[in-house]
Structure formats: C-alpha cells, structure tokens
Amino acid sequence: MKTLKIEDLSKNFGSTEVLRKINLEIDEGNFLVLLGPSGCGKSTLLNIIAGLETINEGNVFIDDYNVSKVEPKDRNIAMVFQSYALYPSMNVRENMIFGLKQAKTSKEKIEQQLEKVSKFLQVDQLLERKPSQLSGGQRQRVAIGRALVREPRIFLFDEPLSNLDAKLRVEMRREIKKLHQQLKTTVVYVTHDQTEAMSLGTRIAIMNHGVIQQNDTPENIYNKPSNTFVADFIGSPSMNLIKGSLKESSGEISFTASGSNFEIPVKGYEFKDKSNLNNKEVFFGIRPEHIYFKKSNESDFEVTLRADLSEYIGHEQIMTFDYSNQEILAKFPSTIKIELAKETKLYFDLTQTSLFDAQSEERI
C-alpha cells in the first residue's frame, strides 16, 4: 500500500499547462520534497494533493483510495503554509483546535490532543496569545501544531520556511527534521531551496515546467543527476558542464572538450548504454567541489588551467578557470593562494563526474 500515489496527473489553467503527466508514489513515513524553480508547478501539485485545486486528468490516491473528487477536509491531510495562515482573530488555542471542532471531535479528545501537541512543540505557554503577538518562529510552530493535532495521514508543507530570516530558517529546518524523525509521519514538502530539500528529504522530486525531472534520494540527485537541468539546479555553484565529444579507441573511452585535443579518460564511468559512444556529442559534468588543488586520490586526473577570477567568501573561495574557452568553476579552501592569469595544476576527481547527451541533455 502506498500512502500517496499520483497517477498520470495533468493540470492546466486555461491554455497554460502547469503539470504534465505526473506520476509519483510515497511510502509510509517518507519525506518527499518537491523542488524546483518558481513556476515549475510544485505548489500546484501540492494544492492538488490537498484538494484545493481541481484536476484535469489523472488521479490521486491516499492509502489506495481514490480521493480525486474528495473534499480537502475528508482527505486526512494537514497543511502548513508559507504565510502560516493562522486565523488572525483567534488565539493560539482556538487556531489549533479549529479543525477538530469542525470535525465535531469530543471536548475531552480536543483538550487531550491540544495538551499533547502544545507541550511537544513548546507552545503551551502561548495558548492565549493572538498570532500577531507571536514571533515568526512561534507562528511557524503554531502552524505546525495546528496540523499535528489533527493526526493526519500526510503532512503537506508549502514553503514553510521562506518567510523566516536566515538564522531562524536553519533552526526551524532542524526542528522539522527532528519532528519527522520522532513522529515518522509521511510528508510532502515544497521548496525552492536546495539546501532545505537536501537536508530534509528522504526523497526529492525535482520539477521543471510541470514535469518531474528526477525523483530520487538526495545522494543520487547530487551524485547522479539524470539530466543537465538537475545537474545545474543542484549545487552552489552548480556543476560545470563542459561541451565536447567522446572518443573510443581500443576499448578506452575518453572525453575531449570542443576546440582542444586534451583527452580526459572516463573509463571508470558507469554508462547506461555502452554502444555508439564514439564521436558522441556530450557535456562533461564535474562539480566545483570535485576539482582539487592537491592530488588526493590515485585516480585524480591532472589538468593545467589558467585562473581568471577569484571570489573570496570567507571559509572558501570560488575560482574561475579557462578550459579551452569554456569557463569552469572550482571551489577551494580560502587558505590556498592561486595567482590569477597563470597556469595552475588542478586535479579532477574522475569518480565524481557525470556525462550528458548534448542533444537530449539526458544522463548517459
């Protein structure tokens, strides 16, 4: 049984296609993050799961039950919003029990739930306060509490941390992670922040233009992006994509950047399909953090590049190099001194590379 299953879901607003043939499944207790740039349809997808938006095509199942036409309140879900959406005229207590009261829950049960949840979230001292008298973090906690008291099957979070300042965001992120670890609830979480996605999710679905680009574990998303969009979207700075072609001679495959003769061997790379690789136009992907200043593994591959630009950020520095007229970025500790406009020896970690078809932009 899947806690949540989405089948061939399509949605359009007028002539604008927002979601195209979405298929998604979540097992009990998983934390799924929908990640993507703004306008990719992730919030619409969440609203559809909640029942706040109608569906044009496809179905949504919760616990194998088709809820496509079921009212939000009957779907056994709870949602936490970006603006918290606490009812301004009600105090914290009334906010938290509003849903239970609507569902005609018994008084004892309501009190019991309220006490349990407010203690758990440490808002039991704030019950008589109005939302306007709470700080951002407290509001967020109350909003989560309002979701918790209903004991839903699935929690939906719609960019819940975007309104908080940077410091509080990191704190609340950890709290949500703890919460999930303790309660083991099923969560669908929408964000455009890759750090949030990586640190919270047990699975991440990256979306763009209404299509899921990759639905995988955070490790696979980072290490084995399934296309150039994912490769580019995840990581800061994002993955270097060097345009060039593959060459196959006597079973050895190597990569040559366009406009250069320099060959990088890619023998350790796990190709999906080993045929027709010779002369294939590809992007060679390597993350800035996988370019080293000192050789650290036997497999590291030495290249000599000219440093063009240095960006100092404190704990690290981002250097821009020239690789046969293509810019590539590398990240080093800020203690390393590299002279600009000079050739520098660098080492590519070849166990961490990705190759993409230049036409389809898919991983090969």
């Binding site: 909640a50 879900i77 603006s83 009812y87 301004p88 849903g99 569902a103 309002r146």
Partner: protein, 301 residues
C-alpha cells in the same frame, strides 16, 4: 585660521536656515488658520443664528453674538409649535431617516462584504467582468436610474415607503461597498481560506468566523461612507417618497421652502444643524478608524 573661517561660515549658514525655518513655520500656521476659519465660518453663522431670536437677527449682523443661549428655535425645529395643520417639524422625519438608514447601511455593508469575499476568495470564471460591471454602478449618475427605479418600486408595491428607500439605497450602495471589501480582502492572504477549507470550514463559516472578525477597519469605512451617503441623500428621498414617508433631508427642504409667513432663519438654521448632526456623530465616533481602515494594508496572520 582656515578652520576658524570655516566654522564661522557654518555658523552663518546655521543662523540663516534657522530664520528660514521659523518663517516657513509661521507661514504654515497662518495658512492653516486661514483655511480653518474659512471652513468653520458657515458653521459659526448657523450656530449663532439658531440661538438668536428673530428680533436679534433683524437688528444685528450675520456675525454678531447672540444675547443668550436661547434654544427655542431648536425646540420648534424638532417638535413644532404645537398647532395643527401646516406645522412641519423634524421629529417624525428624523425617525423616518433612522428607520431607512440603519437597515440600508446594514444590508448594503453585509452584501458588499459577501460579494467582496466571493470576488477575491472564491474566484470563478468571469469574476473580473462581474466586478467591472459592479464598478459601473459607482459611476452611473443617480438621475439616470430614477425612472426605471420608480417603475420597479411601483411594481413591487413599495413606492412612497421607507422599505422602498431601503431597497434603493441598498442596491445603489452595493457597488461601493463591494469595491471597499474587495480591495480589503485582496490583501488578506488566500492561504487563510485554504487553511480553513482543510480544517473543514465551509463557505459561510470561513466568511463569518475567519474573514469578518478581521474586517473591522473596512466595516467602519463602509458604514461611515454608507451612512453619510444615505442620510444626506435628497434626490432618492424626494423622488420616491413624499409626505409622511419622507426622510429628514426632504422634510428639511419642505420646511425651509414652504413657510408661507416670515422666513424664520433661526428655526431654519437649527433644523439644518439637527439634520446634519448624526453624520457628524458617526464621524467623530469612528473617524480615527476611518483613516486607519482606508490606509490599512495586509493582515498579518
């Protein structure tokens, strides 16, 4: 040496700017006092005239101070002289106006709030057209609808009645009240409604439990606006009612224009003040909310 020179020239500049500021400040006060007296002047004339006897009015000037606090003309304006036919006084018409204003303000505000709620939180296909047409209502001149409205009231059998006037004012108020509430609710996060829907609240529950309790500022604005409009209305009142059913503004007009004998300026002035007092009271009581309501932005959840 150079430093000294510099500091003395700074001192001069400082002096200069001090004088300039002082002059501007006094000029500002002068202008403000001028305008204030310009606006207060008619009220002053009304009040002192209403407190004078006819004798004093004939002998004194417009501005002269009354000999004492003589409220006789106020009593006459409110309750009449006590003789039968031809004696027009404001009391019954004042209550007519109250009976017209209260329900008309209540219904137009409530309906406007609901319409604004639907237009912002339950969007439907063509809702912007509905809003546009409602806005037209704000710009149609009153005179243009007199005839069709008279026919409608006749057909409904409520012409020349308070109920008829309530209907007219409610209908004509809806475009304005809708505009107010729509613009207010636009700034209320729609996520509130979504949250309430997930919590299991329906259309009316969301309106009455979530949105209406946070609408106080705009309700005050709407009530003041509607009260002033309806209370001060003369055109609808004089067109759709006469005699017993007339609201106070119509009665005031009849009283002032139809006196056959000598013009009683003191009674006229007292009547005019009585007819204007309720709107003044409403504004004094709720005025500070009026400004706040007009300028208030999004509701922090």
């Amino acid at each position: 040496m150079q430093d000294n020179l510099k500091s003395s020239s700074y001192q001069q500049l400082e002096q200069k700017s001090k004088y300039t500021n002082m002059f501007l400040r006094w000029f500002l006060y002068f202008v403000l006092i001028l305008f204030a007296s310009y606006f207060i002047f008619p009220l002053y004339v009304m009040v002192v005239t209403s407190l004078k006897t006819m004798e004093e009015i004939r002998q004194g000037t417009l501005l002269s101070w009354p000999s004492g606090l003589n409220f006789e003309s106020w009593a006459v304006a409110w309750g009449g002289r006590g003789y039968g036919a031809g004696d027009t006084f404001l009391r019954p018409y004042f209550w007519n106006s109250i009976k017209m204003v209260v329900p008309a303000v209540f219904f137009s505000t409530l309906i406007g709030a609901m319409t604004g709620y639907v237009l912002t939180k339950w969007r439907f296909k063509g809702d912007s057209w509905v809003f546009l047409f409602l806005l037209f209502g704000c710009f149609i001149p009153f005179q243009a609808i007199l005839l069709p409205m008279a026919r409608t009231l006749g057909a409904l059998g409520i012409s020349n009645s308070i109920v008829g006037l309530v209907l007219v004012h409610t209908v004509y108020g809806i475009p304005f009240t809708t505009l107010f509430f729509r613009n207010y609710y636009v700034s209320v996060p729609t996520e509130l409604v979504k949250a309430a829907r997930i919590d299991g609240a329906g259309f009316f529950k969301i309106f009455f439990k979530i949105l209406l309790p946070i609408s106080a500022p705009i309700i005050v604005v709407t009530v003041i606006w509607q009260f002033t409009q309806i209370w001060n209305d003369f055109l609808f009142g004089s067109t759709f009612s006469f005699g017993e059913a007339a609201p106070i503004q119509v009665a005031l007009n009849n009283m002032v224009l139809s006196s056959t004998s000598v013009k009683e300026y003191n009674v006229d002035m007292a009547s005019a003040i009585i007819a204007g007092v309720p709107t003044l009271i409403v504004y004094v009581l709720a005025g500070k909310y009026f400004i706040r309501g007009l300028t208030s932005g999004a509701v922090k959840g």
